[in-house]
Each structure stands twice: as structure tokens, then as C-alpha cells.
């Protein structure tokens, strides 16, 4: 078993999932879907500024912003009738929002394997979460390169 080093908040979330029985894991994922913050006005009125993640099975749009102090803020948009996708976005938001750009870039793409969701959610959907992270990283890299 190789272990993956995760940013502290993500490691904590993985630990929380790991401590639960299957049914409770779904409940926790549901909580993350509810806690996903709504888009701020500047995105709610301009959804075209968000990038779609076509690897997700339901519509999911996101944006990553690198601020002046080098921290990254994340914005997600997913419909309420797609709670699983919203839950994945909620996990990423809770774990990564506000981290430094290089901490985000170092987050391992295979982190979703640490959440113990394989038996509950089809592998295809879990790949959707990895795809969100990949697109966040790409946006962060592009902004770092142009700053």
C-alpha cells in the first residue's frame, strides 16, 4: 500500500469518510452537497466565465481564482438534482478553498480513492471528481503563468 499525502483538510475529510459505515458515507456526501456555497453575484450573472467539466455525469461548472496573496478561491455550480456531483464539488471546496496555489498543485489527483466511496458510487463518477481537480490545477497554472 502506498500512502498519498493529502493537504490537512482533505486528509481530515478522508478520515471522516473512512470512519463511517457505507450508509453514513452517503449522508456525509449529502451534507457536503448542501454545504456547497452558492455562486457570488459576479459569477451567478456571468456563468460563461465558468469552465464546464464534461467528465462529470451531470452539469458541473467551476472557476479557480488566484488572489494577490497567492491563495486560491474556488467556485462551483451544479444543479440541486445532481446531489452526487454537488457533493464532490462540496468536498473540493471544503478541502481546498483558501489554500496556497502550490498546495493545490501538489494535491494528488488520485485523492478520491481515499474517500471509501468506491463501493457506493460508480468509478465513472469518481473520475469526475478527479477531473474537477485537474481543471482547477490547470486554471491555477495558467493564472500563475500570466501574473
Amino acid at each position: 500500500m502506498t500512502s498519498i499525502t493529502l493537504p490537512p483538510r482533505l486528509a481530515e475529510i478522508a478520515e471522516d469518510f473512512g470512519a463511517l459505515a457505507d450508509r453514513d458515507r452517503l449522508q456525509l456526501l449529502l451534507e457536503f452537497s448542501r454545504e456547497l456555497p452558492p455562486l457570488p453575484d459576479r459569477y451567478a450573472d456571468r456563468r460563461d466565465l465558468l469552465e464546464q467539466v464534461p467528465e462529470c455525469q451531470s452539469p458541473l461548472f467551476l472557476a479557480a481564482e488566484v488572489s494577490g496573496d497567492g491563495t486560491v478561491h474556488l467556485f462551483f455550480d451544479a444543479p440541486p438534482e445532481a446531489p452526487t456531483t454537488r457533493g464532490f464539488a462540496g468536498i473540493l471546496h471544503a478541502a481546498l478553498d483558501g489554500l496556497a496555489a502550490d498546495e493545490i498543485l501538489e494535491t494528488p489527483g488520485e485523492f478520491s480513492s481515499q474517500l471509501g466511496l468506491h463501493d457506493l458510487v460508480s468509478p465513472l463518477r469518481l473520475r469526475g471528481m478527479a477531473a474537477m481537480l485537474a481543471r482547477i490545477k490547470r486554471q491555477v497554472r495558467e493564472q500563475l503563468a500570466s501574473s
Binding site: 452517503l26 449522508q27 456526501l29 449529502l30 452537497s33 464534461p54 467528465e55 462529470c56 455525469q57 451531470s58 440541486p80 438534482e81 445532481a82 446531489p83 452526487t84 456531483t85 457533493g87 463501493d119 457506493l120 458510487v121 460508480s122 465513472l124 473520475r127
Partner: protein, 293 residues
């Protein structure tokens, strides 16, 4: 003790009106003894966000499949599942779900393999119930367990396997995937990448009829006339034809199987659940690319 059938005029045209209920009928009968309502969705969390009061969850991914072999649960596993959900052999089992009842039709088809006597779909599914402002709840019902009998799965009537499809070539086949998957441009469904196959295209001779053509904008089934225009008119199916339907893993084609079997009343329709994820990965099976069958 089966519940009365829904006598909605729209259903009377269909070959088997007893296989459908309206949202009105369901609202009226919620809580009746002998009825169990089950929600089966593509999104595994949707039930938890709110469901029809009293409905149990039936998860296609974790509950209807064998966890190891690519197959469905066996008779013992199905009996255990039904008993846990509080379903008896006499229960009127009414299924509904998201995305035009796509997964609910799949669950109904799997239950058909075990010949559960009274299976019905809610016309319009979850979307219609919610659009009509009917009540939903997050309360999970605690139904008393039952002792559902062990009934061996019958794979001979409504299920087709790869070698049977090979022997079937030249007879009617319906490919219900998207046009891009049919021609071979796409190895997977739009928006569902990587659940694919190493080869693209379709089974030789298969006609393309995307499954959602059988559904209206409000997720209900199209009228008998509209369905006949598609399947008999455009495709030229005849009621006594031996028909095999397929998609990618057998879920979308369950919807078309339901339409052909229960709405149009064709008695010899089988669902090839191996579908493109088996055919498109099999060595030396024939494949056609492009728009022609």
C-alpha cells in the same frame, strides 16, 4: 393482494395498461396495504434529498448487481433484497426514478428476470411528481421485513447474451444509444466518458432509435400512436418479430424494452445487457461503423 389498475384513458391504448400508473393514481394510493413504492435513480444521492413519502430506495449499482461477477444478484440475493425492503411476492411494486425513468425501467427489467408478478412504472417518474408540486420527504420508511421466496432468475425470456446475439444477426436489433455512439464517432455517451469500449460502431444490422425518443418532454411515455409511428413505421418492426435491444450496459435499452414489451405489446423482446461494453471489447465479433445498419 394486488392494487386496482389505473384506468387513465391514455393507458387504455397500450397493450398492457396495468404496467403503468399516473402520479394521480399513486397520490391516491400511497399507504395502501399491498403497495410498495421504490425509487431507482442514476444519481445515488437523489433519493436522500427527498422522495415520495413511504418510498424505499432501490440502488441499481449496489443492490441489483452481483458485487463480483458481471451479473445480477441470484435468487437468494434477490429474495434477501426484497425481504429487506418489505416486499412480498404479492406486493404491487411501483417503480419511479430520475431521467425519464431510465433506471426505474432498468430495475423493473431486473425484477422481471425474477418474474415478480405485479410490477408497474410511474408514468413521468420523479420529474413529473416534483413538477406537480406533490409532497416529498427525507424520512426513510422502516418497513417490516418480509420472507420473500427464493425464485431462480429466468434469463431465457427477456435477457440476451452475446452468443445469442451473434446467432441472432440478420434479425431485428435496436441500438438505443446516441447517434454518435451508433456511428462509432464516440466510444461512450456524451458526457459519460471513459465507460467505453475499445471499438466504436454498432452490431451489424442494428437500427438506431435513441431511447429517449419514446419519452415526451414531461418524461411520460409517448402515446401509442407516436410509438407505433417510430417502431412500426420508421423501423418496420412487426409484433411477432424476435427483437433484441441494447445500449452500453443495458440500462437505456431497458426503457425501450419496456416500451416494446408492455406498451406496444411485442411478446418476443430481449435486452442484451452486455451491450456495447461487451460487444465493443469482444475479439472478432463483427462491427459496423457509420450511419447505415
Amino acid at each position: 393482494m394486488a392494487l386496482p389498475y389505473d384506468s387513465a384513458p391514455k393507458f387504455a391504448d397500450y397493450a398492457h395498461p396495468e404496467k403503468l400508473v399516473t402520479t394521480e393514481w399513486l397520490a391516491e394510493h400511497l399507504g395502501d396495504p399491498g403497495l410498495v413504492v421504490a425509487e431507482s435513480d442514476e444519481d445515488v444521492l437523489l433519493y436522500e434529498t427527498g422522495h415520495i413519502p413511504g418510498a424505499v430506495k432501490l440502488d441499481w449499482h449496489t443492490e441489483l448487481n452481483d458485487p463480483q461477477t458481471r451479473d445480477y444478484v441470484d435468487g437468494v440475493g434477490f429474495a434477501r433484497l426484497m425481504s429487506e425492503k418489505g416486499i412480498t411476492r404479492d406486493t404491487t411494486l411501483v417503480l419511479y426514478g430520475d431521467k425519464n425513468n431510465w433506471w426505474a425501467a432498468y430495475a423493473l427489467w431486473v425484477c422481471t428476470l425474477f418474474e415478480h408478478p405485479d410490477l408497474r412504472l410511474v408514468d413521468g417518474g420523479r420529474a413529473k411528481w416534483i413538477a406537480e408540486g406533490r409532497p416529498v420527504t427525507t424520512d426513510v420508511p422502516q418497513r417490516p421485513g418480509t420472507d420473500y421466496p427464493v425464485v431462480e432468475r429466468d434469463d431465457t425470456k427477456v435477457r440476451a447474451f452475446r452468443d445469442q446475439v451473434l446467432a441472432h444477426l440478420g434479425q431485428p436489433l435496436i441500438d438505443v444509444r446516441s447517434p454518435g455512439e451508433y456511428t462509432g464517432e464516440l466510444l461512450h455517451m456524451p458526457d459519460y466518458p471513459q465507460e467505453g469500449a475499445v471499438r466504436g460502431g454498432h452490431i451489424p444490422g442494428a437500427r438506431s432509435v435513441p431511447w429517449a425518443r419514446a419519452a415526451a418532454e414531461d418524461a411520460t411515455f409517448r402515446s401509442l400512436k407516436e410509438l407505433e409511428a417510430i417502431y412500426a413505421g420508421e423501423v418496420g418492426l412487426r409484433p411477432d418479430d424476435d427483437v433484441v435491444v441494447y445500449c452500453r450496459i443495458g440500462e437505456r435499452s431497458s426503457h425501450t424494452w419496456f416500451v416494446l414489451t408492455h406498451l406496444l405489446g411485442y411478446p418476443h423482446v430481449r435486452n442484451y445487457d452486455g451491450s456495447w461494453t461487451e460487444w465493443g471489447n469482444s475479439v472478432r465479433v463483427p462491427i459496423t461503423r457509420g450511419e447505415n445498419p
